[in-house]
Subunit: 323 residues, 4 copies
């Protein structure tokens, strides 16, 4: 496994990491979660992404139990959480980044995770109804109190990220270090265009999510929605249209041909392509099945074999389909 | 219940809230206090105002006992306290905002309230004998130590509030977020004129008190001072003249006519009129009787029915009587 | 008892206060110490001055025991300590204001005093071998950690005090609030000339020591050194010459005449004269005998009777004898 | 023993101090370690240097056990540790100065040392893959949390040290106070040239290591590598060439002649020569044998006898051999 700096920070993250979006606490039970984490750790993964809202807190609880059992040295792994949606609804506990919510949320997350601190804490979405200065202060206070080591954002605009950075610089507070954007072959504008100046100006690091476009890039939706897939779950109806997009699935088919020539799956090719972007610190991959982890890890090796010519072929295949 | 941002902060407060000035610990017993809080909470109220000096500390003790019994999630409610007068007399415990008093006072309030922190802490009055910088530091330290989330002022001049804000900005300290002024149909100058620039410049929020002008706006003093009213209590003699002011009571009579056309009481009309002011974050209402809470809550709905024409009629009725 | 602001701070100190220089732990036993404190407190004194070095730590231990027994509300009294000499000798524990010593010293003082915090903490002397910035940071950290409320200096030059203030302003740290200089009819230059601009520029408060010039101004040395006086103690030899200074003792005789006309002792006159200086926040007086406290307290009343004419007469009596 | 200020700080360090590089936990057992410390302490040494990486943490454990047994007053001694290499390998625990590692490392060091705080904490080497700002913040946070008193660097370039100082000044954080460079008759460029402006500009103090150039300056390598010497240990192969350098050993022979004329060993002369440099705060010497301590301590007295003429003779002997 290769490790990359999280943006300009000194933190080293494995270039492939494990997220638990929806997965833990829903489809996967405790033992499977623990085995997935162990397999990933053994493969060199050191970053395990989480959020308060994933599976209504259950994702943190499961990860906390697994970490306790696994008993790795704390220095060896990086755990994150994210705040914005909250577990329950209510004016100061949902869709907010205000001080009251954030300082309450971190304490509850740490309890579920059974940890003294998380390494990374994210503002899961921007909150236009809270001044960025209030949020920056609360994130700083989490770090000053030893409850987190680094903070960042997820799906914030470039302007919002820069504003947070500037406020922290002016008031001598801890600055945002990383952003967690969606990034894959079909979703690229923000990472490649909107954030372009931030990499140089503030040293922004990226921990990207949805590398396989919710499964679209595995090719499993080329023949419609399989019964056991996430898109068949209740509550994900709106995702189905995108996943069965005819032209995108046709492109996936062409990518599968390229992948096959490299002895790889189309999913591995999609992950490897992301790793070619030097601004990406780590690609967060799914872990619903333990075999998936082994498969995903192979993308790192594959990336070293992606020549400029192959990358060019991939780009032409995707063409205008990316936003 | 609607919720409003506390000024430019991210905190959401119910537009109607509950205060306990004099009430708890004096006229009301523990069970009644708990039932009043519960009824308000069920109606969507999330802000419960308090102060060290209310009923000599008893108001905080009663609220603390009630909150413990009710056992709501801490994120769901907002509690405040205020410091200036102190419970006992003495050079550093009364009429002061010095560091010694403030840091001692917050610890005692938290003990009475049985809470780890209050959400809002106010400087109950300005103290011309303490430099504002000393007070700003002490308020900042309360927040930095996790004993309060936001701080503000009560009945400070615009100049004093701006000075506190500027000192905090210069020294990178937590800034004042809200002010608690008296505000009602007969007392308007400060909120509408003196503070005018502060809403835009520093995002000041208002939690207003005395919406019914100590009862004058309920109409109950139109025929003199009723035996059970607050104005009949010992120690409130000076209030009586204002409450029995002939022209104001005549105006209240006219307002009652407007209210009746809207199927409302004059008190509800007076509350609804305050809610039309977008700079008001929440109107703190009394809660000496549980029925009062239900009556007051109706003002929120009434406010949506106050057309510009009705508001204009109200303004003409009050005319020059307001200060 | 009148109370004065400690310089421009909001802290109110009794204009007469009690010090324990040498006294406690040496000449006075525990019961007497407690009774002296109680008598002073009952007379309205709220400030009790102390230092690590007084009686090798015993002065703090005795005061701590007395305060515990007396069990006054913490808000009602002000306790100080001072650091520079240390109790034991050694490179980082004596004649220093470095970070190591100061942060160690405050913890030991609080243990001896059985207090969570002192109100005032002084740098007992300037230390030319420690940068003022290092000392300012350590004093700030004591306050930030809740171990002291205000900090100041003792016998620092005006330039050193201003430097400390400026460093604190620049780095947003807690600023020095008060200075404890020697000040009496025969020792005036520093308070009246050297510090003159500091009162206005930085709001410096004064807690003055040696109001009776080590007893010279009581008149008891007019006929030589009495056997039980401090000047007869071993280790105070160097003080004797000053105390038996012929011209000064002659002036003391003349002051005694003025005092007698006012039905006062010359010591009371000397104290009252200091109280006429508006820059003095409190005059620290001795307390080796309980009767002394009652006698000293009368100076406050006497000060109100000192007309400009009487003050002028006092000044002429002292003439060039003061430095 | 003489004491010197640690650069421009107020901390007084003995001009000769004790390090434990490799020694403790490898060649020396617990009792010997305790006796060495005690002998040094009795000779006036107050600074005991250590590092996380020395003997894989064992050096700290042994020192911690010894300090506990010896039970000296905490004010009387100065303990250091250093972070960069870590005890175990791994992306965030080795060759790094990132926040995650540093904040984890200090807690583990304090546990091994059985101390509440170390006096000095060093960044053991520069880390080009962590921004200096991140490291400065972490070092500041250690100090702000009371886990260390002063921080510094070891073998950083002048430019890196100045950058750390400037960042701390700009963000109002604790500044680096000292640097621990290698410094001896054969290794001088950094201390004498590269750092030259830092002494004046930022008051940098030096705690120098390898005063005897790993033993070369004791003369024991003049006839090859002795069996029991460090250079004979496994893992120190690369050091052998330097230690058996023919011209340097010839110069050592000439220095031995100068030393003999002063009734001293060549090692004592080499130590004494370093003490003539006023920018050196303390010379860290080895302590593998208790007799060594007594021998080394004599260098302080010897330094007072090094006339300008003798120093000149030493310089000519070394000539171009120094880098």
């Amino acid at each position: 496994m290769n490790y990359r700096r999280l943006g300009r920070s000194g933190l080293q993250v494995s270039e492939l990491s494990i997220g638990s979006w929806v997965t833990y606490g829903n489809q996967v039970d405790a033992k499977a979660a623990r085995e997935s984490l162990a397999a990933a750790y053994d493969a060199g993964v050191n970053f395990f992404d989480n959020a308060e809202v994933y599976a209504g807190g259950q994702s943190e609880t499961l990860m906390g139990d697994a970490l306790k059992t696994l008993a790795w040295p704390r220095l060896n792994y990086i755990v994150s959480t994210k705040f914005f949606w909250g577990i329950d609804k209510g004016p100061n506990r949902h869709h907010t980044l205000n001080r009251k919510y954030l300082l309450d949320a971190i304490d509850h997350s740490l309890k579920r995770l059974q940890l003294d601190y998380v390494d990374l804490v994210y503002c899961h979405r921007p909150d236009p109804r809270t001044p960025i200065e209030e949020t920056v202060w609360a994130m700083h206070d989490m770090i000053a109190r030893g409850k987190a080591l680094y903070w960042g954002t997820s799906e914030w605009s470039a302007d919002e990220i820069r504003s947070a950075y500037d406020i922290a610089e002016r008031h001598h507070l801890h600055k945002p270090v990383m952003e967690q954007p969606q990034y894959n072959l079909f979703h690229r504008q923000r990472v490649e265009k909107e954030y372009a100046r931030l990499y140089e100006d503030i040293g922004l690091g990226l921990t990207t999510w949805s590398p396989l476009a919710s499964g679209l890039l595995t090719g499993k939706y080329r023949d419609g929605v399989p019964q056991n897939s996430r898109a068949a779950l209740k509550g994900y109806e709106s995702m189905r249209e995108e996943l069965t997009h005819p032209e995108k699935n046709r492109a996936v088919g062409e990518l599968a041909v390229i992948a096959r020539e490299l002895d790889a799956s189309v999913g591995q090719l999609a992950l490897a392509w992301i790793l070619k972007n030097p601004h990406v610190s780590t690609v967060i991959t799914g872990a619903s099945r333990i075999e998936q982890i082994g498969e995903n890890m192979k993308a790192a090796e594959l990336a070293t074999r992606l020549t400029p010519e192959i990358v060019e072929k991939i780009e032409q295949t995707v063409g205008d389909l990316a936003d």
